[in-house]
C-alpha cells in the first residue's frame, strides 16, 4: 500500500524542484533593465496610487455585467452537450432544459428590474 505513494512523493519533489529551479534560474540569468512602466503595479488599468479619480473610489460597475455574462456563459455550456445529444434524450431532457433556462431567466429578470443593466 505504501508503495503506491512513492510515485506521488517523487512527483511532489519534482514539482517543488521545478518551481524552485525556474524561479532561481530567472533570478540568476534574467536581464534586469528597469524603466518607469515596468515599476508600475499593473501594466494596464487604473493606477491605484496615489488616488484614483473620485476621491479614491474605483467604480466597480463592470462587475454586474461580468457576473451576468457568467450566468449566460454557464447556460450555453450546458446547452451545447444538450444540443449534441438531443436526439437520444427525448422529451424529458427538453422539459428539464426549459426549466433550467426559465430559472436562469429569473436571475436575469431580477437584475433587469433592479437596475443592474443601467450603467449609471
Amino acid at each position: 500500500m505504501t508503495d503506491s505513494y512513492v510515485p506521488l512523493l517523487f512527483l511532489l519533489g519534482l514539482g517543488g524542484a521545478f518551481a524552485l529551479v525556474s524561479v532561481g534560474l530567472s533570478l540568476v540569468v534574467g536581464p534586469k533593465r528597469y524603466n518607469r512602466a515596468k515599476m508600475e503595479a499593473y501594466e494596464c488599468g487604473i493606477q491605484p496610487t496615489p488616488h484614483a479619480a473620485g476621491g479614491g473610489r474605483v467604480p466597480i460597475k463592470y462587475y454586474l455585467t461580468a457576473m451576468l455574462f457568467i450566468i449566460f456563459d454557464i447556460e450555453s455550456v450546458f446547452l451545447y452537450p444538450f444540443a449534441v445529444a438531443f436526439n437520444s434524450l427525448g422529451l424529458f431532457a427538453l422539459v428539464e432544459m426549459v426549466l433550467f433556462i426559465v430559472t436562469v431567466f429569473v436571475a436575469y429578470a431580477y437584475v433587469w428590474r433592479r437596475g443592474g443593466l443601467e450603467w449609471d
Binding site: M1, T2, D3, S4, Y5, L8, A85, S88, L89, G90, F92, A93, T103, V106, A107, A109, Y110, W112, R113, R114, G115
Partner: protein
Amino acid sequence: MSTAVLGAAPAVFTPATLDYVALLPVLIVLGAAVVGVLVEAFVPRTSRYAAQVWVTLLSLVAALLALVLGAVNHQVGTAGLSQVGGTVKGSVVVDGPTLFLQGTILVFALLGALSLSERLGGVGADAFTPMGSSTPGSPQEAQAVKAGAMTAEVFPLFLFSVSGMMLFPAAGDLLTMFVALEVLSLPLYLLSGLARRRRLLSQEASLKYFLLGAFSSAFFLFGTALLYGFAGSVYLPDIATAIGARGSAFDGLLVPGVLMVLIGLLFKVGAVPFHMWTPDVYQGAPTPVTGFMAAGTKAAAFGAILRFLYVGVDQAQWDWRPALIVIAALTMIVGAVLSVTQTDVKRLLAYSSIAHAGFILVGVLSLSREGVSGTLFYLAAYGLATIAAFAIVGLVREGGSEATHLSQWTGLGKRHPWTAGIFAFLLLAFAGIPLTSGFTAKFAVFKPALESGTAGVVLVVLGLLCSAITVFVYVRVIVLMYFTDSSGDAVAVVEPSAFTTVTIAAGSLFTLVLGVAPASVLMLAERASQFIR
C-alpha cells in the same frame, strides 16, 4: 474493477427516475426561493417585505407538511420511516436519517425565519442593512431606502440555503453532496455580511467565512477526485464496494481521499482544527443568521458526515477512525477551554458550539445505530436551544446596538427576569443539566460511545470533563445576570414582535419538553436511524 469502470461511458442515455414525493420538500423550498427572487423583481417596494415573509413561512410549512405526509405514507409496520430509497439514480437518498434531519432543518428554518423577519418597528428586517456603507439611522441610509435599497433579499437567500441544507444529508454521491454544500454555503456567506450594526465586523466575518469556506470546499472536491480515482465512482455505495474488494493499483488514494473529504465536512461543523472561522463568523454575522446557521449547518453537515462515514467508507474505519478520535477529543477540549476566556456572548456561544460539535462527534464515532439516533437527537435538541438563545442575544441592546459584551449583561436578571430566566435555562441546557434537552442529548450520544470500546470510553470521560468546564462558563454568565450589581440600566431588552417571541418560546419549550419527556422524539430518532445504501 476500478479500471474497468474508469473508461466506461454509457452508450445510451437513460433518464433518471425521479420520485417526486421524496423530492417534494426540497423542491418546494427551492421553488419558493425562485419565487422570492421574482417577488424582489416585480412586487412594489412597499409590499415586498410582507410578500417575502409570507412566501418564506408558507413554503416552509408546506415543505414540512409534504415531508411528514410523505414519511407517514411510506411508513410500513415496525420498519418505521426507512421504507424509502434512493432516487435520481441514487444521487438523492431519502431514508430515515434524511427524513429526520430534513424535518429538523425545516423546523429550524421556520423558527429562524421568524427571528430573521423581526422588524422592531422599522420598515424592513431590522438586523440587515439596506446599504453596506451607511450607518444605521443615518440620512445616507434613509436615502438608500428611498432609492430602492431593501433588505428583503435575505428571504430568498435564506430559502436557497435551507434547500441546500435539506439536500446535504440526503446526497447519495459525493458530487451531489458538493453541490448541496455550495448551495447551503454561498447564501450564508452573503447573509453573514449584511448586518446593519457593526457592519465592518460583519463584512470581515463574511469575507473570512467565504475564503476559508472556499478553501475547505477545495479540499472536499480534491478528496472526491481521489476517491473517484480509487473506486471509479463518486457514489457512496460504489465506494463501499470498492473498499470491500481492495487490491487495485489505486489503493493508496483511499486514505487521503477520505481524509480530505472529511476536512471539507468537518470545516462546516467547526471541528478543531478547522474551527478558526467559527467565533469570528458567529460574532460578526447578524444575530438571527448566526442562530440559524449554528443550528442548521450543524444538522446538515453532521447528516452528511454520518452518511459518508456509515454508507461510504464504513469498511475502511481502521484508517480514518484514529484521526477522527483525535479530532473529537481536540474539539471538545479546545471548545470548552477557550469558552472560559470569552467576554462576548456571541463568541462564547460560538466556542460552546465547537464543544458541542465535539460531543456530537463522540456519538458519530460509536459507529452503531444507537450512535446515529443519539446524534440525530442531539442535533435537534442543540439546534432548537441555539436558535432561541441567539434570538434572545439579539434583543439585549444598548442604544439600539446589540450589547454582546458580558459586562453589559450584569444585573440583567433583576431588570428583565423573564428574558434572563429563559436565557439561563437555555444555558443550563447547553451545559447538560438534567430536565433540559441537553442532558438527554448528552446521554443519548455518550451511552452508545461507552459500549463501542476503549476509545469510546476515553472520549466519554473526556466529554464529561469538558462538560464540567462548560458548566463553569454558563454558570458564570448566570451569576453575572442575577448576582452581580448592575453597572447602570443603559442595557435593556427591546420589546420583540410576535415573531421573535414565538421563536424564543418554541425553542425553550422544545428544550424543556425534550428534557422532561423525550421518549417520543428519542423513539422517532431511533426508528429513523437506519441508513439505506
